[in-house]
């Protein structure tokens, strides 16, 4: 029987509203029915628990990032144990009456957990994503959750999914929260593609207004009357919201003062112009263990024709590979090195490559190449995979 009223703490209330199977036993917070993959690639349910610190019946900021697990050791969708969070066997450790831990976990993003919602969902997501890669119907959240995975995000359905037999694969994206930092040429094409997937939320970040010249480097065809003084994010959210929900505009650039807006994202498309913000964002996401794909192009004129290269660099936290050194992050003016030229089809190609890379990361496409860096050379029409 709970000894504190969960309703009074916003983090516990949010866990309940989102229909996690939450219980409180004495000083412990428990989430039941967490889907996970065992060493034999079977999907099972486990139990995650944490110390719960309160003051006068309300939660305070967790001071420990340790969690307890009852179940077999959780693995990725290939049956490989998720060792990065292992804190050693908690075997036989009694957590509370009715729970004896098999394992303890210890992992946290750099700035720690602000509350118990962040702490518990951090572990749950890491564990259940691999179960959902095998069986997209499983979830730690009970059906009927607000904005829940049982309901479609689309306002009309894609009949081809069932007909072509790919609804299982596409369903793996359900529940995901992705962000697009930068809604310029490449970012807008990324949105055009990601909007058609079943992700729950797409957060758009860009501080600029949508102007006439932007129309020549983004999908669609605005009318002359469409150019009011309005933020790009609002313009694009308006278009794609006709088709689906969960397109959320933020009329601000991601920078030092607000970098925390990316916390809790499942994936980020870094589509910013220029090196300084790219470096800031990439370093933050690497510290937070959030996977991302960074895009960039460098075009120049040579003998009266356009040439150059486009690049997609992807960071996979599980691989532990440092890709920061592959990206331009300097503070110098970009126009020193290349022009400001951007061309729609090169933006679109970069976006498509980034989206394909993202879809490989959650198991939609088969990935045997496992490349972290891709370069498209315009004049030779080569797609070069490296690192």
């Amino acid at each position: 029987m709970p000894t504190i009223q969960a309703d009074r703490s916003p983090d516990l209330k949010r866990l309940m509203d989102e229909r996690y199977c939450l219980d409180i036993y004495g000083d412990y917070l428990v989430i039941r029915n967490v889907p996970y993959v065992d060493g034999g690639r079977k999907v099972k349910l486990g139990l995650l628990a944490s110390d719960l610190q309160t003051s006068e019946g309300v939660t305070v900021r967790p001071d420990s990032h340790v969690a307890y697990w009852a179940g077999d050791y959780p693995c990725d969708n290939n049956g490989i144990p998720l060792k990065a969070m292992d804190a050693g066997s908690g075997e036989g450790r009694k957590v509370y009456d009715g729970m004896v831990a098999d394992y303890t976990f210890s992992q946290k993003p750099k700035e720690g957990y602000n509350d118990y919602y962040e702490k518990m969902t951090y572990y749950v997501r890491r564990i259940e994503n691999f179960a959902r890669a095998i069986d997209p119907s499983v979830s730690a959240r009970a059906p009927g959750a607000k904005g829940g995975q049982a309901e479609s995000v689309f306002r009309y359905s894609d009949a081809s999914l069932a007909r072509d037999g790919i609804s299982d694969m596409s369903g793996r994206a359900r529940g995901m929260r992705v962000a697009i930092a930068g809604m310029g040429g490449t970012g807008s094409y990324v949105l055009d593609l990601v909007a058609k997937t079943e992700v729950r939320e797409i957060h758009l970040f860009d501080g600029d207004a949508f102007l006439q010249h932007n129309a020549f480097r983004s999908p669609g065809a605005p009318a002359p009357s469409d150019f009011a003084d309005r933020p790009k994010t609002e313009w694009f959210a308006g278009i794609y919201s006709r088709m689906r929900e969960g397109v959320i505009p933020h009329a601000e650039n991601v920078g030092e003062g607000n970098i925390g807006v990316l916390k809790g994202m499942d994936f980020v498309f870094v589509c910013v112009d220029g090196g300084k913000s790219r470096g800031l964002i990439a370093e933050y996401l690497t510290r937070e263990g959030i996977p991302f794909a960074d895009t960039g192009m460098g075009l120049r004129a040579a003998d009266g024709k356009i040439t150059g290269q486009a690049r997609v660099t992807a960071h996979d936290p599980e691989s532990g590979k440092d890709v920061l050194q592959l990206m331009p992050r300097g503070g110098a003016e970009d126009s020193v090195y290349s022009t400001n030229i951007q061309i729609a089809e090169i933006n679109a190609l970069s976006a498509a490559l980034a989206v394909i890379r993202w879809k490989k990361s959650w198991g939609f496409y088969r990935d045997t190449g496992r490349e972290h860096n891709t370069v498209y050379a315009i004049e030779t029409n080569e797609v070069i995979n490296g690192a």
Partner: protein
């Protein structure tokens, strides 16, 4: 490089960003390519995207800072600052 058997120095014809040049050396490095393509380079932290074809292996490949590859006659090298989005 000094050769004591009367061999000619290893001189090859390469192209960097469309400019043909003669290159003297067994290996060509990312640093040399970037210095040549961007002589006004300012920031030591900037990373460039360097790709080449006609090098040691059939398929095209890339170089990052600190890397080098064997210089081959006829190799075509591209260097760009891929920072725009």
């Amino acid at each position: 490089m000094e050769k004591d058997n009367g061999e000619k120095p290893h001189l090859v014809s390469i192209v960097i960003n469309g400019k043909p040049m003669k290159y003297d050396g067994e290996y060509i490095s990312y640093e040399f390519i970037v210095e040549t393509a961007f002589p006004d380079k300012r920031d030591e932290n900037d990373m460039f995207t360097v790709s080449y074809r006609g090098g040691p292996v059939e398929k095209p490949d890339t170089l990052v800072r600190g890397q080098k590859t064997k210089a081959h006659d006829g190799m075509v090298i591209l260097a760009d600052y891929t920072g725009r989005s």
